[in-house]
């Protein structure tokens, strides 16, 4: 296939597709086709391939196509909603923090009350709560530091 033939290949396709509008170019192409066996063969292939592809099985829509489409196009049924139910749900959502806060508060109070209960003897070492004066039991931090670093 020479250079002229390569340039003609687009024209061949247009010719095979019946899209040629320019008469003079068409005459030139026809003359070329008569003289060039390579291009004639190429045209023959093009026409055959077109025939094969165009004979590709045409699939038709099924008989239920339209009814199925209409079903899909139907608007979704409206859900009947009662206004007071919606309002109640809305209020309940808003009020959720209140019971949570109350529960937390009750837990804190209960925990505090339980910790005030009398500790068992094995913790207090036989002393009663009245025997312990917390203000006397303290750690003198300065004496601890002195002991650790200066051996005093």
């Amino acid at each position: 296939m020479n250079r002229a033939c390569i340039n003609k290949r687009r024209a061949l396709q247009r010719y095979a597709d019946g899209e040629f509008t320019d008469d003079s170019a068409l005459k030139t192409l026809k003359a070329h086709l008569e003289a060039c066996p390579g291009c004639s063969q190429e045209l023959e292939y093009l026409l055959r391939a077109k025939k094969i592809v165009s004979s590709h099985q045409r699939v038709n829509a099924s008989p239920e196509f339209v009814s199925r489409l209409l079903d899909r196009l139907k608007p979704a049924p409206e859900i009947i909603r009662l206004r007071w139910v919606d309002d109640a749900a809305d209020w309940s959502r808003r009020l959720i923090p209140v019971p949570v806060a109350v529960t937390v508060l009750v837990c804190v109070v209960l925990f505090a009350r339980l910790n005030q209960a009398k500790a068992p003897d094995y913790i207090l070492g036989g002393l009663t709560r009245a025997d312990i004066r917390f203000d006397e039991v303290y750690l003198d931090s300065s004496s601890v530091v002195d002991r650790m670093f200066f051996g005093k």
Binding site: D17, R48, I52, H56, A61, F65, R68, L73
Partner: protein, 162 residues
């Protein structure tokens, strides 16, 4: 009714573009739903069929891109219902399969011009309107698509399978 008039064409295009996808009808229905929803916006600058083809091509492309054509194993392995068929029918079916596979192997931009030209029989100018591109682009895509098809079909033609 527009659906009855165009349903077969739309299904056929989708079927050809998706390589015999079993969900072709669903995609075709999506096309008509889009048409129904956007009918008010149709500006009548082009023919209705051109607009419909454009929606068909775009919807199919989006489907292929998003789903990557999920076909369940059941659909692939499902035996076809037994029926008495002639040798010719089997050969014809086999030929169809080869052609379908050959078209399916093309990149989408070439596949759509080949389908619109050779299967739907649209002219270059109409295809250019559908794809919103120049006629030269249609011509070159068609040329390249056919070049690729040639590589696949020629050996099959020589073997006498087509």
């Amino acid at each position: 009714m527009l659906v009855r008039k165009y349903q077969n064409r739309v299904v056929c295009i989708v079927y050809s573009l998706t390589g015999s996808n079993p969900h072709a009808e669903d995609i075709a229905q999506d096309v008509f739903i889009k048409v129904y929803q956007n009918l008010a916006g149709f500006e009548k600058k082009s023919a209705f069929s051109t607009w419909l083809y454009r929606i068909t091509v775009n919807t199919t492309y989006n489907h292929l891109r998003s789903k990557r054509v999920h076909v369940s194993l059941d659909e692939i392995d499902a035996p076809e219902p037994f029926e008495k068929v002639s040798i010719d029918a089997i050969e014809s079916k086999e030929k169809q399969r080869f052609v379908t596979k050959a078209i399916e192997s093309l990149p989408f931009k070439y596949r759509m011009v080949v389908v619109l030209k050779d299967i739907e029989g649209l002219g270059y100018a109409d295809i250019a309107k559908v794809l919103k591109c120049r006629i030269g682009t249609v011509e070159s895509r068609l040329f390249r698509g056919r070049e690729r098809l040639k590589k696949i079909l020629t050996p099959l033609m020589e073997e006498g399978k087509l």
